[in-house]
Symmetry: C2
Subunit: 301 residues, 2 copies
């Protein structure tokens, strides 16, 4: 029985990052046919957007070196989008060649993380994104932009709201259709979320991407929904994190998010039972229990 | 740097349940001197209310059979309250004898749980509470009342809001100064929290007691704060649960709550560093890691 709450949206799109952000950070080697089955299961559970893989160079992300083969194996379900992560023009060319239907690029909100993750300055990162976004748009692909470290980073402390907005508005200006605001190290709290979202002129083009490092992911999500956001990133069973940030662990688990949304009477189109059984199946393959509380609770005997 | 959020209180009282609700559900046998040190550490970290132990019969809760000895050993810090759980007149007499300064009684919001936990009906439980509360008040003790299964129970499904309000108002009518609304099996979501709190005429006399079984404890807490609640139950390191409800696990961790509150600029009077080091110390003694995400994140090397 749902209990709606005033001021919240009636429908939320969950942008599922498990196959990319999740598996990218697992030490287990997952065979390409298992990855394909994982994605097929997610589509069968009702997901409408599943980030499938990444064309970052395999030296950096060996877990996803099979990106091309995976895309070729995928049975794409009509009405489902399968974006892929793309770092540069070379990655975009591969994505185009393999008929990806949407791409995602990743930017930094802080100087230090831009240097460490992109080998660029906060300013010069846009020189890298501009031709990628332009060529993607020319080829009819939609482009999502991730912004990392929107709430703080391990070196500079809290990230000023104005600085995140400046980075985000430039990415939207390039033609990206959606910005995913990432709390890469999980330090944010609800008032910070509200302040950041309110500082953008276009909340309907924002998504949020929370990590549960300090247990704040779901309450921050609630604050984001209250501020008008309707797209939330989450990872099946809570797998994943950020490999380049020492204290970063755990994306928000899709199942924990779905429990809250369905309890609030918010439509997601998702079948929670199928999600949980997919996480149980995946946890066995990864040989570690899912960090999702809902998966733990519902998979008990 | 705090980021306040409109409509939230400036100060929150954390009612710490670790020594009672936490340890009562641990299989490890904790020596009485360790329990005393635990409570002394919590007071030193700034807690103003610490539920110390329980006078439930040791056949039911053998972990707290040393309640009398513990109270005798306690160095009570001025300004700190140390309530004890009391099931009946016999328990109250022991609490009075040992100079407890405050007691807590526990009621059920559902028929089935009243039968299982209290061996009473929903109606007849009040016959048990009435003389306990009356004698406690006569002796100058304040009485808190817990209400279990306020959001659902494992047998009857969701608990009707009206039913919880009826139980709660009767307990307040007996003279209890505070009601702690418990989501004993952790199924609640934020809209349900709002609906329940709004249905009471006296939100200032309410506390909330959330379990993290489905990962909802902190977002439910945010909803409770937005609805005007200023007292939140939590357990050091997230230890504890309810031994009589199969799927019930994990109280909200004090540290995860404090992270959110301090991030929101809400005063708690607590020193997070001292709380974390207490949880690390306790986890070693209990020989299992703390389920608190903040403790896990901050205690990494």
């Amino acid at each position: 029985m749902p209990y709606p709450m005033e001021g919240l949206p009636h429908q939320v799109t969950i942008y599922e990052v498990g196959p990319r952000d999740g598996l990218q950070n697992e030490s287990a080697i997952v065979p390409v046919e298992v990855k394909a089955e994982f994605i097929h299961r997610l589509a069968d559970a009702g997901h409408k957007v599943i980030e499938a893989t990444s064309f970052v160079h395999p030296d950096w992300v060996p877990q996803l070196a099979d990106a091309g083969e995976l895309l070729a194996r995928l049975h794409r379900k009509p009405g489902v989008r399968y974006p892929v992560l793309v770092p540069n023009l070379r990655g975009l060319d591969r994505a185009l060649e393999l008929q990806a239907d949407e791409i995602a690029i990743f930017a930094s909100a802080t100087e230090t993380f831009a240097a460490k993750n992109l080998n660029r300055s906060l300013e010069s990162q846009f020189d890298m994104f501009e031709p990628v976004v332009a060529r993607a748009l020319d080829n009819g692909l939609k482009v999502r932009a991730y912004v990392s470290m929107c709430f703080g980073d391990p070196w500079e402390g809290p990230t000023p709201v104005k600085q995140v907005v400046a980075v985000g508005e430039r990415l939207l200006g390039l033609g990206c259709h959606e910005l995913s605001l990432g709390d890469t190290i999980g330090v944010g709290t609800p008032g910070h979320v509200t302040a950041l979202i309110d500082a953008f002129r276009t909340p309907e083009r924002l998504a949020v991407h929370f990590h549960d490092t300090y247990g704040q992911a779901l309450s921050n999500t609630l604050a984001a929904l209250e501020a008008g956001v309707t797209t939330v990133d989450a990872s099946t069973g809570g797998i994943g994190g950020c490999p380049y940030a020492a204290s970063a662990t755990g994306n928000l688990a899709t199942e924990d998010l779905v429990w809250m949304l369905h309890g609030l009477g918010i439509e997601t189109g998702l079948d929670l039972g199928k999600l949980v059984s997919t996480s149980v199946w995946l946890a066995e393959l990864l040989a570690r229990p899912s960090p999702s509380r809902v998966v733990q609770a519902l998979s008990k005997g």
